[in-house]
């Protein structure tokens, strides 16, 4: 039992480090006293308000994270300009659409991240996320141009692919039906892969339609 408890605490270390970093940044000086009080406050907070654990089983790829962030910035700028142009075009009213995008990965974490990033880019945001089927419903601002619906759907898939390239294991990427990371193909040669131990069937949830109008909340 105690081993389990210690593991629980170890998993909260990243949160404590992040909170301490924010504390130090808020004070503005890196001193021993600041760091100590920061650690104290964050441990106290984690003890009083324990967070639900989000299972993270993946491998962080630095190239993937850089690609994800860079592409996100480009997307944000481009989409902001296009929404701005639409706002200033007085004659037209935008005709939007709510579209269904069934995501390919089965993990809640990637669903959340993809939804967050899609909402962050102006021009599309997530109206409803259905967890059991891994489906996002997003509202797109303007779909009057032909092919806009398909493009919006394609953009979400691309976003998910980049998220998975940044944070998922090779096995998960394969299970989701994406190609393996292009920059991993060359270096894989002689290396043994140790991350294949997860059983795929344990997280396979049936792809079914929502059974009733409400979700679980």
């Amino acid at each position: 039992m105690s081993g389990r408890g210690r593991w629980d605490w170890l998993q909260r270390v990243p949160m404590a480090v992040w909170m301490t970093a924010v504390w130090v940044l808020l004070w503005g000086h890196l001193t021993v006293a600041n760091v100590l009080t920061g650690v104290l406050v964050s441990v106290l907070l984690l003890w009083v308000f324990p967070m639900p654990r989000v299972g993270f089983e993946g491998r962080v790829s630095l190239i993937g994270v850089v690609l994800l962030t860079g592409r996100l910035l480009v997307d944000v700028v481009r989409a902001s300009v296009s929404v701005a142009i639409r706002a200033l075009r007085w004659r037209q009213t935008p005709h939007g659409a709510v579209i269904r995008v069934p995501l390919r990965s089965e993990s809640d974490l990637f669903l959340t991240l993809t939804a967050e990033l899609t909402t962050l880019v102006p021009g599309s945001f997530v109206v409803e996320a259905h967890r059991f089927t891994g489906t996002l419903y997003l509202h797109v601002l303007d779909v009057t141009r032909p092919g806009a619906l398909e493009r919006a759907r394609h953009d979400v898939f691309e976003q998910e692919r980049r998220v998975m390239y940044a944070f998922a294991t090779d096995a998960d990427i394969e299970a989701a039906g994406f190609e393996p990371r292009p920059w991993r193909l060359r270096s894989r040669g002689g290396r043994t892969r140790t991350r294949m131990t997860r059983e795929r069937s344990s997280y396979e949830r049936g792809k079914v339609l929502p059974r009733d109008g409400e979700d679980e909340s």
């Binding site: 924010v22 940044l25 808020l26 503005g28 944000v76 700028v77 902001s80 929404v83 701005a84 639409r86 706002a87 200033l88 007085w90 009213t93 935008p94 005709h95 939007g96 659409a97 709510v98 579209i99 269904r100 939804a115 967050e116 990033l117 909402t119 962050l120 102006p122 021009g123 599309s124 945001f125 997530v126 109206v127 409803e128 996320a129 419903y137 509202h139 601002l141 779909v143 009057t144 619906l149 339609l209 929502p210 059974r211 009733d212 109008g213």
Partner: protein, 118 residues
């Protein structure tokens, strides 16, 4: 120093312009979900530009870190708020269906309801 000031000016003016355009969008767009698209713009790119302008203008490295933190906080929280508001808006029928080209969520909900009844 002069180049820094020019960069700061460009960033600030661009950020303020985006805020104004967003305000125009919020006032002009016909339904709530469309207005939300306009509203997320100053929250993301506008804030980034304003903070960049402030960082260039103040030119002190310690404050730059704080400004980066401001942007990070905003990027973490803005989508949550947008999703909550959008969802509530959709559920309480604030969307004008005559302006929607396609509405697959209503289709799916309808289908699920029919299946439940049968």
């Amino acid at each position: 120093m002069n180049a820094m000031m020019i960069a700061a000016s460009v960033c600030l003016i661009a950020g303020c312009l985006l805020t104004l355009v967003a305000a125009i969008g919020v006032a002009r767009f016909p339904d709530m979900l469309a207005r939300m698209h306009a509203a997320t713009k100053p929250q993301v790119l506008g804030l980034m530009l304003l903070m960049a302008g402030l960082a260039f203008g103040l030119g002190s490295s310690q404050l730059t870190w704080k400004l980066v933190l401001v942007v990070v906080f905003q990027l973490l929280t803005a989508p949550v708020a947008a999703h909550m508001v959008g969802r509530a808006g959709y559920r309480t029928g604030k969307v004008r269906s005559d302006l929607l080209v396609r509405d697959e969520l209503t289709e799916d909900l309808e289908r699920a309801r029919l299946r439940k009844e049968s």
